[in-house]
Assembly symmetry: C2
Homo-oligomer: 208 residues x 2
Amino acid sequence: RASSLTLFRISLYIRYLAVLESEGRQTISSREIADKFFISAASVRKDLGLFGAFGKAGIGYYVKGLREALLQKLGLKRKWNVAIVGAGRLGTALSRYKGLAESAFQVVAIVDKYPETTTARRDSGLEVFHVDELPQLVNDRCIELGIIAVPASGAQDAATTLVEAGIKAILNFAPTHIDVPQGIFVHNVDFTIYLENLAYYATQAYYS
Amino acid sequence: RASSLTLFRISLYIRYLAVLESEGRQTISSREIADKFFISAASVRKDLGLFGAFGKAGIGYYVKGLREALLQKLGLKRKWNVAIVGAGRLGTALSRYKGLAESAFQVVAIVDKYPETTTARRDSGLEVFHVDELPQLVNDRCIELGIIAVPASGAQDAATTLVEAGIKAILNFAPTHIDVPQGIFVHNVDFTIYLENLAYYATQAYYS
Ligand SMILES: NC(=O)c1ccc[n+]([C@@H]2O[C@H](COP(=O)([O-])OP(=O)(O)OC[C@H]3O[C@@H](n4cnc5c(N)ncnc54)[C@H](O)[C@@H]3O)[C@@H](O)[C@H]2O)c1
Ligand SMILES: NC(=O)c1ccc[n+]([C@@H]2O[C@H](COP(=O)([O-])OP(=O)(O)OC[C@H]3O[C@@H](n4cnc5c(N)ncnc54)[C@H](O)[C@@H]3O)[C@@H](O)[C@H]2O)c1
């Protein structure tokens, strides 16, 4: 079972391979991938090996075949239905995000504690259901992934509702820890980590 | 100069060290950090070494000292002022994000092409300036980092305005590539990458 960090790298390799494919590249070496991502070729081979992909001596990997294999292993060759809990600013922005169109994901339901007053209903005409209807929606719309976009105070309730409705993996945007049963996966998102990335590079820019 | 992936790991180590410190831990080994993040102890030592941190044989690293040193090297021991271009749903959600309070960052300005009609002005009373006022704001409020939260069609304009105002590092949320001069750093954020993480774990959950 791969770690979150490894999966993150695999997702980046997949994007890189798509770019190579669009440039007409047929093969790629672990060395070249390693240089692109500033890690060792051995780490790249290790990551890919975890997903059953092994290069050929003298050739490396076939770009198209490698990308397909990785997409397959990550379960990204099919569409996943996603539910968002919290139809406020963030929840609505996520549901309308154009980047989802060419991904393996689609938001098929958005719920809120106060569906009548949310910005989603007002601004974008999205149908917002009451959070109590989530279990029914998860069943009817074959929803497998959940996103929490409510304030910190409502996050645990949102998590409990998602888990009870049968959701196995949750993306939590609320700045608080949520408890879930063993076997349920939670990824906490914090965009501050990207600002830290910016701060480092800005500091470097000042010194060069 | 460290890569984006290395910085990402360093940010994660910093968070982990904060947790250890709150638990009263005095020292930590590269082995223990490595196990926490499913990478090799050698990789951890390499990452830390890049930032001038070297452990003591038999002791490892001092938790408090290591965290301080990393924060210092990343430029996170001071407050950074941030400007957001785009006061729509996402921009407003980012500006109000509670997680920023205990971080090294504060949003001190938010601008928009149509400041009179944005949701920010309507819902949260945030003062939204016109995007043409950005250069003045960057100067007056010592802004160093920029965030782009406008639709794809407006992203390049937003980037150009930020760069001309003197911003050296940009976080781009718009699902499009933006061009910037050499030496300006751009990080493109795509939350789809976290959904891919979820899909993998959900697939694993079904098989266990
Ligand atoms: N992780 C990040 O990087 C990041 C960035 C921005 C915002 N956020 C977080 O996202 C969350 C939402 O931010 P926002 O600006 O959209 O807030 P918002 O106030 O605009 O929206 C929150 C919505 O959640 C609903 N809600 C509250 N409790 C609920 C519950 N128990 N069940 C269902 N719905 C419930 C409210 O009715 C409201 O519509 C906040 O926790 C914020 O801190 C995180
Ligand atoms: N990267 C991700 O993971 C992610 C997630 C969600 C949304 N998004 C993206 O974030 C962006 C904003 O989404 P939203 O839902 O908040 O949209 P929105 O329509 O609510 O807000 C966009 C705002 O930008 C302003 N604007 C447009 N062009 C501008 C320009 N040239 N200069 C200044 N302001 C300008 C508009 O007046 C509006 O207020 C979109 O590009 C969306 O695709 C990205």
